[in-house]
């Protein structure tokens, strides 16, 4: 199990639904209508995966900081 994840938000894809900010308010908020992670590198947490999996445009990616492996969204 990796010890840290990197959260990325593709702001060109983001359509500002705020589903992520409602699902994981400790990790995402809307700034000028666009999702923004509160911190880029975070400790692994299931709620971050839930937010990434719930994004209708798959604008959120979660990667392992050690090997850049894609953790979410899952296929």
């Amino acid at each position: 199990m990796s010890t840290a994840w990197r959260i990325g938000v593709d702001e060109r894809r983001c359509i500002g639904t705020s589903i992520c900010a409602g699902t994981a308010p400790e990790h995402f908020r809307l700034v000028d209508g666009v999702s923004t992670p509160l911190a880029d590198v975070v400790a692994p947490s299931e709620v971050i995966l839930a937010a990434a999996d719930s994004c209708p445009v798959e604008a959120i990616t979660v990667r392992d900081t050690t090997d850049d492996r894609l953790i979410a969204p899952q296929e």
Partner: protein, 462 residues
């Protein structure tokens, strides 16, 4: 437009046709002349009709100045007209008190920013509605489903279905959707004018798509189409009939679930949900599974089906914009977004959010435990966000409309609805260049006694 002048609605004698996303928000007391009264939260108010205690702060007796409640919706729905009261409230009284036909009094937010806060901010939740006499347009109160849940419960269910409705997955369904749309229009053209656009195109298109996505036999459509009305009925059906239809719908879905268990290899959304439950019972209860699948089927019926004719109706009323769209079909995606903003699908706001703590919204201190409605339709006409908001303008560069809501309850089928609406609008506009109503406008029949506004039939020629 008939203005309702009674304090409480009489759902027997009034018609409430359609309701789904109407909203309005106004700023504090920006010089509104209406009399204000000092409102004292009485102790009884802290107890719901079911006798369940409210939160502590809802039990305070601290006095606040609040306006008297207005009957809501403000008027009997008139075609796709947005009641001008919303505009007045956005200007003068952005948070107002309303009394819906059923349930307790509520705040109503009408300004864009406030509506977004109410429906999207984590300080508001839907879960308390289950224990309250929630403000609503329907006699029946809903006690289950994703719309009565907050994270993390809501997240557990939402995550299971969200992946089937991502933009990428939905895009893969576009060629098939186009094929269905082409065949439906071919059939209608073959019948010759006049023909009913609702019957021949708007209804079968989304139903066939959701059936194929979920894995529900399209051949059964006449049965579940009737039952689906129960989900959006306010007064169009007697209560016993609503319950009977819902039971039929759940029973029918339960049968399909059993079928998936007998044939576990079927690769559709229903099969995936059944596998999700059977692999991990904690993820999804059997009731949740059946209601989720049935809810998706019904939602796939009553929304896009209604919006396709609404969109065509609005375009026919804006011939300059329709001509632009015909000349340049690349405008279709922008046109769909603008129509989603412009058309007030809902008869009135519903699904009130309950404040989890004291929250200031639109200059009003909403106490913990109080219900607040956010009018999406009003937010979509807020001139501080949308220039010339009452004009249909396909060229808007920024269009952050709230037609699908905001926050965790943002429509799970939004990307599917967008794609279907794009296919429907572009096919109708390009294949039927002389499209027009085949009857005088006054003869069009509008839905009554439902949460959504829309046409029962749309006779057209081309």
């Amino acid at each position: 437009m008939a203005i309702i002048d009674v304090y409480r609605y009489d759902p027997i004698s009034k018609d409430y046709s359609a309701l789904m996303c109407v909203c309005c928000v106004s700023a504090p007391d920006a010089g509104r002349p209406a009399p204000l009264r000092t409102w004292r939260l009485p102790q009884e108010h802290a107890v719901s009709t079911k006798g369940i205690r409210m939160t502590e702060s809802a039990q305070t007796t601290e006095s606040r100045t609040v306006p008297p409640a207005r009957p809501y919706p403000f008027s009997v729905p008139d075609r796709l007209v947005v009641d001008p009261t919303y505009g007045e409230l956005r200007e003068n009284e952005p948070m107002t008190r309303v009394q819906l036909p059923y349930g307790e009094e509520a705040w109503l937010a009408t300004r864009y920013e406030d509506v977004r806060t109410v429906v999207g901010d984590v300080r508001f939740g839907r879960a308390p509605a289950v224990e309250r006499d929630e403000p609503r347009l329907t006699p029946r109160q809903q006690y289950s489903g994703m719309l009565t849940m907050d994270p993390p419960d809501h997240t557990r269910l939402r995550r299971l279905v969200a992946k089937a409705f991502t933009a990428r997955r939905v895009e893969a369904l576009r060629p098939r959707t186009q094929e269905i749309a082409d065949r439906l229009v071919d059939n209608m053209v073959g019948l010759g004018p006049p023909a009913d656009l609702v019957e021949h195109v708007a209804t079968p298109l989304p139903i066939q798509v959701i059936c194929e996505l979920l894995g529900v036999p399209y051949a059964d459509r006449d049965r579940f189409h009737i039952w689906s009305e129960a989900i959006v009925s306010t007064t169009s059906l007697p209560l016993e009939t609503i319950q009977e239809y819902l039971n039929n719908l759940w029973g029918y879905m339960g049968g399909l679930v059993a079928e998936r268990r007998r044939e576990p290899g079927i690769d559709d959304l229903l099969g995936a949900l059944v596998r999700a439950r059977d692999e991990n019972q904690d993820r999804l209860s059997e009731t949740e599974l059946v209601e989720l699948a049935g809810g998706l089927l019904a939602a796939g019926h009553e929304t896009t089906v209604t919006q396709i004719p609404n969109f065509v109706y609005v375009l026919l009323h804006n011939p300059d914009q329709l001509a632009r769209l015909r000349a340049d079909p690349s405008l279709v995606p922008a046109a769909v977004e603008e129509l989603l903003r412009y058309v007030p699908l809902g008869v009135g706001s519903s699904f009130a959010r309950y404040a989890k703590e004291d929250v200031e919204v639109g200059g009003v201190l909403v106490r913990a435990g109080e219900p607040v409605l956010g009018s999406l339709s009003s937010a979509n006409r807020d001139g501080t966000v949308f220039a010339d908001p009452d004009r249909l303008d396909l060229d808007r560069e920024q269009n952050p409309h709230l037609g699908f809501g905001h926050g965790v309850h943002h429509c799970v089928g939004a990307q599917l609805a967008r794609m279907e609406l794009q296919v429907a609008v572009s096919t109708i506009v390009t294949r039927l260049p002389g499209l027009r109503l085949a009857v005088p406008e006054e003869e069009l029949q509008w839905k009554r006694g439902m949460l959504v506004r829309g046409l029962l039939g749309m006779p057209v020629a081309w």
